[in-house]
Symmetry: C2
Subunit: 321 residues, 2 copies
């Protein structure tokens, strides 16, 4: 019902909302092949051992949770499918206009209301979809792996915005030191840019400093510095350290001024995004034929799309249509 | 100016619009490491040899065109930077709410108006951003490479929606036959699903048929079947075949009923998306303080976000505020 967005789904979501807000929403993202699913599997086991109720929302089409993985992964995950304390839900609406993020956000809220202590949201990449989903996560781990070449670069543009913890998986592979160093350099540069005290000399200083390992769990006064944690998910190594960093991040969010501001900021972004969709829904409902007419006019080049949009927005707001 | 979206940029875009519509917009997408940039480089050279004016919009953060690549790539691309018949523009606004696709779409229109015969739009992945950008492309090539494991799977969800031609690059590598077979199977299954005549038996028949190579250039009556083209971009092998398929696709778009319907469909999606952004812009301008107030109310859990959005939409439409 929440998926289908049929009439009445909004009432369900409104009624559920007062029951949300208790769960800890953890984002797991990164490119295909980094080992996100195995890492998620380990985190589930770890939190289940602490008697937590765990929900997984798989937006990643390569994830075994969403049905996109090879047989071996599926078998490995089977135990969680059988565990009544684990709720797994895949989201397969990728492709629709705004469809993915909207239903993912709603499903996370439903799982939160269900009583999940932790809701893990697994996404792939750093596109708009992922940013939208990680925007609702309290704490997000970006999973990287050595030897994936362009991956860190690919992620660069959006990675600092959404990464609270970096997990460098497959840490027994060649090139792991380079991957860790790249990430630490990126974090250092990003902080410099955010600080905007970035004179060339300072940047150069920071390059040197970046070679040193970051603090174990990210806290640096009021500021959060994403820690870089090495792990080997297949052998369950480094997973508890990763989980500790995530817990530390959650504490930072509630305990620090900057953390509280970030929560507020992300909520604002979320509501603006939700409002954007609600506005288009209302416009489609009320002036659907006008929109179709405008598309035809733009197609026949009688009007440019910018003017057409302005006229549609004005028509939507005009009383007494 | 178009990037910055400052006041007056809309007027520029409106004035430019009558000069657009002549250029052929070609999307190049695929995961990092598939060799998109080298392939783009070869396509530029090929079309420059035909005296075409070529523009490149690089949305891909790993692309040397957008400044994200290693030194070797940069040097290889240098010749195009020096060619006055090539216009290269990177888009680096990834991360903003709707920011990436909006400015990319506008920049493509500007380059079209500049007089580009071909506008190549290079994007990475298959997220919402990429769908939005490929939605405005006339013909899109999805670049895959053997031995990248999950890549085809990762792309699956959105790939059939945006792929007009598949380029299997690095075709001298081990595993190329498997990659081609996977793609052909996916195309066959996708067509079956679209046809919705998909009884189990028919699906099984199609599996067998998928092992045979697809037609060289995609045309199958009125329907377009994405051809799978092997190439080795570093050696300039298979590039002219790929370009031929893209040209055939362009002809199909204008000559066939289904093609014309697709153009119309994509334009409609584009305008709806543009309208969604325009509505939020107008709302932010007119009821900004109300939105901020709603965010604060949701943050303090006095109201749920769904009801808050409904109230904001109603407030936006109320006359005489």
């Amino acid at each position: 019902m929440v998926d289908d967005r049929i009439d009445g789904h909004l009432d369900v979501l409104k009624d559920l909302y007062p029951h949300t807000g208790r769960g800890w929403i953890v984002g797991v993202t990164g490119n295909p092949g980094a080992g996100k699913s195995t890492l998620t599997d380990r985190l589930i086991t770890l939190w289940r051992n602490e008697q937590k109720r765990v929900a997984v929302v798989a937006v990643d089409p390569t994830s075994p949770y969403s049905g996109g993985a090879i047989l071996g992964d599926r078998i490995r995950m089977q135990r969680h499918f059988d565990d009544p304390g684990v709720f797994i839900r895949s989201v397969a609406t990728r492709g629709a206009l705004g469809g993915l993020s909207r239903s993912a956000v709603d499903i996370v809220r439903v799982l939160d209301a269900w009583g999940a202590d932790v809701v893990i949201v697994e996404t792939v990449g750093v596109g708009q979809d992922e940013l939208e989903v990680t925007r609702m996560a309290h704490s997000t781990v970006v999973v990287a792996a050595p030897g994936m070449g362009d991956d860190v670069q690919a992620a660069k543009a959006g990675i600092l915005e959404c990464a609270d913890v970096f997990g460098v998986n497959k840490a027994d592979r060649e090139g792991v030191d380079a991957t860790v160093r790249d990430l630490e350099l990126m974090i250092a540069l990003g902080r410099k840019m955010i600080d905007s005290r970035g004179a060339q000399q300072r940047l150069a200083d920071e390059h040197g400093a970046a070679a040193q390992p970051t603090t174990p769990c990210g806290g640096a006064g009021d500021e959060w510095v994403p820690p870089v944690v090495r792990c080997i998910a297949t052998r369950n190594e480094g997973i508890s350290q990763l989980a500790e960093c995530l817990v530390a991040h959650r504490q930072w969010l509630t305990a620090s001024r900057v953390g509280a501001a970030r929560v507020q900021q992300r909520l604002g972004d979320q509501i603006r995004n939700q409002m954007r969709d609600a506005l288009l829904d209302a416009a489609t409902r009320d002036i659907g034929p006008l929109i179709d007419g405008a598309v035809a006019s733009v197609a026949s080049r009688q009007i440019d799309p910018y003017s057409a949009c302005e006229q549609l927005v004005a028509a939507f707001r005009r009383p007494g249509r």
